[in-house]
Symmetry: C2
Subunit: 387 residues, 2 copies
């Protein structure tokens, strides 16, 4: 058999964190206590009201294909959420329900990118977003970012790095792995710049809701015709359900519908009916309570990492990550993470999973563990760096 | 904004049936009784044991991301199913759990196809399978099939139509829309031919289990190193849950794992725990009972369509479709389907959704409706063609 590997796969790197996770599980199987600060998902369970809605739907037993774009009532509920939460009017017909933000990226890039075109994004960034671009034989144009722009692309960097084959720009704010935000005015300026250059703007807003300072505006507030990617995974606490959404420019409604029909048929009907319960006042109160808990954890971890001698130059104002410079202790973040796991049973993610820019000198800590667990992790970490 | 549409999207046609479905729903909203014979999903509910497993999992409330390849216990259960059902040994490490067969196709083609390569498939065929190929900027090489090969590709057609850029062949047996099967010996010969030509073989086995004559062998029985695509949607009755699987050649295990991590993160954890209940003896008994019911419907619909003057040249031995030649009544299957819906409230799918070969002269009837409902549909159909 001619079992060749597609060329695009050579550009798609494995995640180091998966190797560490496997090793962590091995250690646990051997009876070791491992503290997980490597995983990018909330430790909270699915919210009770969402659970209840899923249980109710389950009793009816009608888990059939839905419309490819999603349940009309869920699309309408999301449109209402944009009105209430952001003061932005968006037609429900532009909202597509997808299997996570992951599915949203498949539709956004699949419907808008040609081979050879390039999408600009920050380095460091969430590596899958870069890999979605490669999937369609387009190129990722990574631009190194630093504290000067709060580890985000801005209008200046965009103008400076624009190339002949650049077709668009992706900004994730709050960002993974840095937790950093672009201010609302800087976001608007960045979108204006992309528009002036004739590009297409993609906003990954998956960490909206998990923000601890000025609430971020949606990209749609400054420009109506952009792609917005979001998800029920993080703020809404539904990772394993695999449900998110995509808002597309008017020009792309018909093609994205066709693409969704072909590659997904539809998103889990269970997950859609469950997600419908997300927007009730009672559930939003619960989600904001969880957000406040994340904020307390953020403050706690931030203080303590600084105390131990980590440098944190990206001010973490959102998501549930701190991207810490570990160069005082090691110039090799991968080795650092491996040794920390073996010696102390604390799992973290090396910067190398997120790009090239200073990657060897950074560690991503996820505060998806309780304060008592993080306290224990910090004790172990302190012992490790003083060994 | 530079809101261009990706070129690949121009090759991806909309489904006519979606337009008809929308119109059908409009008519229903107006109080008309519509009989649905256009929809490609079982009318049976999720099997009770699968429902119960989902409910149990829901109570534990732990719907988190799983391993990208899927739950180890589900992969092992599928491996055991291949041993018991087909007498074939397949390593669980080669089995990936995916969001439906749709997700399986994304991984199979994404990991093995380069732009410009072509995958050969039968015309007529399930249109999404062709569109997955386009998604990766590869080409679909449609080969017209007819009763001579029971509407399937075989070794002869493969050899005859092989081109310089052909990199692989996809066979779906039982097929959508024809319900036709390739015999086990013809399947083995086809795979041998593809191997002799240095190509890659993709087997879409989603309608396995829904077969009414000689039980089809899996492609893995004749050659170990092929891609096999399957799903919990059809025989297992779980369409809306969005769960399926992909078996990959050893050469592709590592890259497919990487691709799955990037584009899905994981498949719905709920759906995976629910699907685990599929393989119990009690559930298999229920599924076989449903299969027997489909067989009775197949016989009923087949007899009656012939009686009304439709020609059926593809012997429907599997799935839940009959692909009927309507040329006695119309040379325009799209118009026929539209008029039938308006005049009589019977929804069917025009052949034009499945390719070019005789598409204007064929209608796909899905027997995903009960016998009494089909009886009523046939009465209306008879009135329609005699009008
Ligand atoms: C920045 C960012 N975007 C998108 C995703 C995809 O998440 P999901 O597919 O669960 O919505 C993640 C997940 O970690 C992420 O961190
Ligand atoms: C031949 C064939 N393959 C694949 C699929 C995809 O189904 P799913 O993604 O629900 O498993 C279908 C659905 O109708 C089909 O008919």
């Amino acid at each position: 058999m001619n079992l060749h590997i597609a060329q695009r796969m050579h550009n798609i790197k494995p995640f180091i964190v998966m190797e560490l996770l496997q090793r962590a599980q091995q250690l646990q199987a051997q009876g070791r206590d491992v503290i997980h600060m490597e995983i990018g998902e909330p430790d909270f369970a699915t919210p009770p009201l969402v659970q209840a809605a899923a249980a109710k739907f389950l009793q009816q037993g009608d888990a059939k294909y839905t419309a490819a774009a999603g349940l009309p009532e869920l699309r309408a509920a999301i449109a209402a959420y944009y009105r209430q939460n952001y003061g932005v009017a968006v037609d429900a017909g532009r909202i597509f329900i997808t299997p996570g933000a992951s599915g949203a990226f498949l539709l956004a890039f699949g419907s808008s990118l040609n081979p050879g075109q390039a999408v600009m994004m920050a380095d460091p960034c969430y590596p899958c977003n870069a890999n979605f671009v490669q999937l369609f034989n387009a190129e990722t144009q990574l631009v190194a970012v630093d504290p000067a722009t709060n580890y985000q692309l801005d209008a200046g960097l965009i103008a400076q790095n624009w190339r002949a084959n650049t077709s668009g720009v992706l900004i994730a704010s709050p960002a993974n792995p840095t937790g950093s935000l672009l201010s609302n005015t800087a976001l608007a300026a960045a979108i204006d710049q992309v528009q002036a250059l004739g590009g297409c703007f993609y906003a990954d807003e998956i960490y909206h809701g998990l923000d601890y300072a000025e609430p971020p505006a949606t990209a749609l507030a400054s420009h109506d015709q952009v792609f917005v990617i979001n998800s029920f995974s993080k703020f809404f606490g539904m990772t394993g359900w695999r449900i998110g959404w995509l808002i597309v420019p008017d020009s792309h409604v018909a093609v994205v519908e066709r693409l969704a029909q072909n590659i997904f048929i539809s998103t889990s009907s269970q997950a859609q009916y469950a997600a419908l319960a997300s927007f009730s006042a009672e559930n939003m109160t619960e989600l904001r309570r969880r957000r406040d808990e994340f904020k307390i954890r953020r403050d706690y971890l931030y203080e303590n990492l600084l105390r131990l001698g980590f440098k944190i130059t990206a001010k973490p104002e959102g998501a549930f990550y701190i991207y810490a410079d570990c160069s005082t202790f090691s110039q090799n973040s991968y080795q650092f993470a491996k040794d920390l796991l073996e010696a102390e049973g604390v799992a973290v993610t090396p910067g190398t999973d997120f790009g090239y820019n200073g990657a060897d000198k950074h560690i991503r800590f996820a505060y998806t563990a309780s304060i008592p667990r993080m306290a224990e992790a910090l004790t172990r970490l302190e012992r490790f760096i003083c060994r």
